[in-house]
Amino acid sequence: MLRLERRPNPSRFWLYATPPVAVVLTMIAGGLLFAAMGKDPVAVIRTIFWEPLFGDFAFYLRGQLLVKAGPLILIAIGLAMGFRAGIWNIGAEGQYIMGAICGAAVGLAVYPTESRLIFPVMVLAGALGGWAWAMIPAILRTRFNTNEILVSLMLVYVAETILAKAATGFLRNPDGMGFPGSRNFSSYPAAANAELFAGSGLHWGGVTAVFVALAAHVLLRHHVLGYQIRLAGQAPRAARFHGVDPTRLVIFCMGLSGALAGLAGLFEVAGPAGQISIDFNSGYGFTAIIVAFLGRLNPLGIVLAGLLMALTYVGGEMASTNMGLPAAAIQVFQGMLLFFLLGVDVLTNYRIRPVKGAR
């Protein structure tokens, strides 16, 4: 029999070792899954983790990595701030959609005007859209004590309906011959979020993500607000005793994560996606939850985690085209990663001891 024993101090070693160990365990379990599906596990794992970085098409795929990692990092950092404070915004997908719709609407409204101000205003509108959507669960929680998990999640479904309406109705391309989807931003330079260097995959979203990660790191480590976020998550009563106003903290954390998700949505719709369409959103808002935990809710860790998760997306697509691996298998793979991560994390605060005799 084994038994868990609480460590007096959290283990520094396991704090950093948890993510790599979880990744290795996921590779093993994932390999078993792929084998069960009749694929060569080694080849699949290699395709996912090696090909995008060093394979024949790496010159293109590395860029794709940044394209996918940008929104994941941006959203995950916002979520992580809330998670640390015990505020569970899990409706980032909805905020992402609403940010995209608001930002795109601004751009499409002034089409075809050319001005340097258009894109910055769109960015602002995107952040505002996500922020406003996140304010709904935030205010309901602070005013009526309503569970923000359920409300923010319900709003994802509402946002998806609005997106469908936008793509087929109020934002539909008037010159699109009745097909759903808005005008494409790639043919509207003043409003487009183009690549900063051709072929690099880096657009303003990636730059913002790096900047936000650094700012969040400084905030958490050195600013009173960051301290209060950590304190509120670990010991809510102590946080009140310290002087944290829970209402303001909820508004701040929800607002921040909503705005960042909205930004990510705008960057995506004006850049890689190009247009508002019924299904332009690809579940980044949910995958970002995995990224946030994989990065140990630490902004710099999230940058690494976002890149790793992007790798599984890009590599997964490779495996899908080259080896016929279903896209859903990658989703399962990502889910397993989160399980292993949460499970291995127990070693940070506990150690395992054999017990004499049965108990």
């Binding site: 998990i149 359920l150 409300v151 989703q331 889910g335």
Partner: protein, 310 residues
Amino acid sequence: MLFGTIDPVTLVAALIVASVPILLAATGELVVEKAGVLNLGVEGMMITGAIGGFIIAVATGSPAMGFLGGAIAGALLSLIFAFLTQFLLTNQVATGLALTLFGLGLSSLLGQGYNGIKPPATHPLPFGPLADLPVLGPILFGHDLLVYLSVALVAGTAWVMGRTRLGLIIRAVGENHDAAHSLGYKVVRVRVLCILFGGAMAGLGGAYLSLVRVPQWTDGITAGAGWIALAIVVFASWRPWRVLLGAWLFGGISVLQLNLQAAGSAIPVEYLSMSPYLVTILVLVVMSSGRGRAAVNAPASLGQGFHASQ
């Protein structure tokens, strides 16, 4: 007139059927939460039950086996949650989310190749002439076994939780796990069993979706039903009979909005299809703002991990 061409009797009969999946899932989650565990993976367990039940039903040609398979699939998935939260002491919120993400992926993976297949039909119970009664016939005597079983399960849960020693122990564990432990009750064991029950119920509810309600397999078939089930538990203030009320309310809204869409109502389709989610939010607000009653009935240890330190 809002109801226009919609026949109220058909509507009530339809809402009873429509409410079955969330009713089952919410009843299971109620027991889980009464034991002090918050499992946010209902959506994942439901959809895994939906595909598990669908596959078994198609393979065996028997809907009954399908329902059983769905329950087992849901319970198996919940086993992961039970192991992680009860033995490895992981955060219940995060683990529940992981379960949902994993379940959505897994069901999609397992469901490859099952799109467009028709499952074996589930027939209404033969009530003979009773089924032909006006009004009462379609409402009370026109359904399949699972409809009656789901109501019976609510009754059974209400009885066990309120009247038996087993229910008392479950409530005690959810109320104060330290006290339950010091009296010698096996907190972890009780919770694991409750989680498995919750998983089986969610899986059964999912199977009903794919085998009866829709009836076919499509990715994301649950479309938030699991989350609505979680909301219904709050709505019901953790009381089984009120879960039934809540499930009927939501079943009614979803049936009504579908009917209104079909009837070509003046309200745009989008607003109709988002109505169940908006109503859920509204109900949560109303239930949570009357802080007193609901808060007192919520299990005191809900969502907290338990570790017998010494």
